[in-house]
């Protein structure tokens, strides 16, 4: 599988703060890549470096095998970019703005017209006749995706496309991204983990200026296959019997927690409970989600 984006050991220092301290990751073709990190972790910095909008202190970035240099615009149409707070010329309408973008990108006049209406349809702005000045955040975000896609880029970079939106707007944007991903790779940053779980194929965690974890969603989930078991007994008096047999269990909120219990551990516990005839109100296997993984990764 060929990689669309290859980031190797990039570093960036702002004043005394080392924002990026050797970030490396790669985005394969036809993949929605989630770029996860806390606010201020350096997600935007990394993306701007990929676009050649930011001078890095070291490291290499390759897009489709082409090295990216500061100030030099990536070969036109290779990357589409949606900034975190997209701002457009308020006195234009959405179709006019898309036309401008297309003309800058050098799309043929005849092809441009159909491309514009196609994209406006994709993002649901085809009936919007007002000037951009009056657009809501969600509408600007959608127009932002449309302008980013105009030259059919191989890689679409979205900086926190969903962070400022209400649940409905978020769902719409995610759906648009999913549709867009049929034709391009998508790299999108977020701190909302459920978004990543919903549409991403791969993800990377950025923390402390480094990628602390990366892999496909299945791999990431597998890392936390040792899930916790939570056991609630009918009679609290039985607690000691259980803890005597399973010393790793700890009591919290009246529940017994068995950390990192494999499926085998689970079966053993159930066998023990059945053998001793201990009544149980509830036995839960707590499936780890990305949030747990994230918390574990950042050491909280």
């Amino acid at each position: 599988m060929k990689n669309i984006l290859e980031v190797r050991e990039i570093r960036k220092r702002f004043g005394s703060k080392q924002v990026l301290d050797g970030v490396s990751f790669s985005v394969p073709e036809h993949c929605v890549f989630g770029f996860i990190g806390r606010n201020g972790a350096g997600k935007t910095t990394t993306m701007r470096a990929v676009l050649g909008l930011l001078r890095t202190d070291g490291g290499e970035i390759e897009v489709c095998g082409e090295p990216v240099r500061y100030g030099a615009v990536p070969e036109s149409g290779l990357i589409g970019y949606l900034p975190d707070v997209p701002e457009f010329y308020g006195c234009m309408t959405a179709p006019e703005y898309l036309r401008l973008c297309g003309e800058i990108a050098g799309i043929e006049r005849s092809a441009l017209k159909t491309r514009c209406s196609e994209l406006l349809g994709l993002v649901g702005l085809e009936k919007e006749r007002h000037r951009i000045r009056g657009f809501s955040r969600g509408m600007k975000q959608r127009l932002g995706i449309a302008q980013a896609l105009i030259s059919r880029p191989r890689l679409l970079i979205c900086d926190e496309p969903t962070s400022a939106l209400d649940p409905v707007g978020r769902r719409e944007i995610l759906e648009i991204l999913r549709t867009a991903a049929e034709q391009t790779s998508v790299l999108f940053s977020t701190h909302i983990l459920s978004d990543v779980e919903r549409i991403c194929g791969r993800a990377a965690f950025l923390e402390g200026g480094k990628i602390v974890l990366t892999g496909s969603m299945d791999e990431l989930r597998a890392m936390r296959s040792d899930t916790d078991l939570a056991l609630t007994l009918s009679d609290p008096a039985d607690t000691e019997k259980v803890t005597a047999a399973f010393p790793q269990a700890s009591l919290s909120d009246g529940r017994l927690i068995f950390p990192k219990a494999s499926e085998k551990d689970c079966a053993a516990l159930m066998a023990f409970l059945a053998e001793k005839m201990i009544p149980v109100t509830r036995l839960e296997r707590h499936e780890a989600d990305l949030e747990d993984l994230f918390m574990e990764v950042i050491g909280k």
Partner: protein
Amino acid sequence: MRGFAVFFVKELRELLRTKRLLILCCLFLLFGIMNPAVAKLTPKLIGLMSEELAAQGMTVSAVTVTSMDSWVQFEKNIPFALIILLIMFSGIYTFEYSRGTLIPLLTKGLSRAAAVLSKCAVVMLMWTGGLALCFGLTYFYGDFYWDNSAVHSLFFAGFCWWLFGLLMIGCVVFFSSFAASSAQVLLGTGAVYFVMLLAGMYGRAKAYLPTRLCDSLSLFRGDLHPSDYTAAAVVTAALTAALILAALPLTKQRQI
């Protein structure tokens, strides 16, 4: 080159939509009419005042107005028109940089040089058109009421003002390449003018300074000839070109 043309059209469209073009037109129209109007009305006003003055024991002789008075007004007023134009366009770069509206276009292959130059071209076009309007009106009324031939080197004086305006626009372009706000751009442009005024105190430098171009009065009266302005004009043109050329690499360095 394609980027330049597309961006140029976009800038013009913005000027039209934000009504700036209309305001500028009105402004220069206004200044153009005011010059002869003030000249024409002066004797009337003095006539009204003369009765009062006479009561105080002063006598006022009859004033005859010529086109010269109108052109003196032109020299007095055109700096204000230029200042208003500069204020109006002082944020044309910094506003885009700070809002980030340029980023989507830059990532689509618009070169920074094309953006800088096309904006510069638009402002220069506005100055050219505005000055022509203002000059044309003053000229028209000058012939309508009086006779322009009494005034020397009219067109050359107009050209001098045009060149001086281009220099000031060049300053805006230059300072915009690193200034954070329109206020800083104006401050820098003002500082350049101030420095030129200070330098003008040395008599020997005077003939080479761009501020020499603002002295239309000596031209009108025939005290100085266009050839006395050649050095200043060459310096101004060179300085303008240098400022704009310097802005290109500086803008390329700029973190947008």
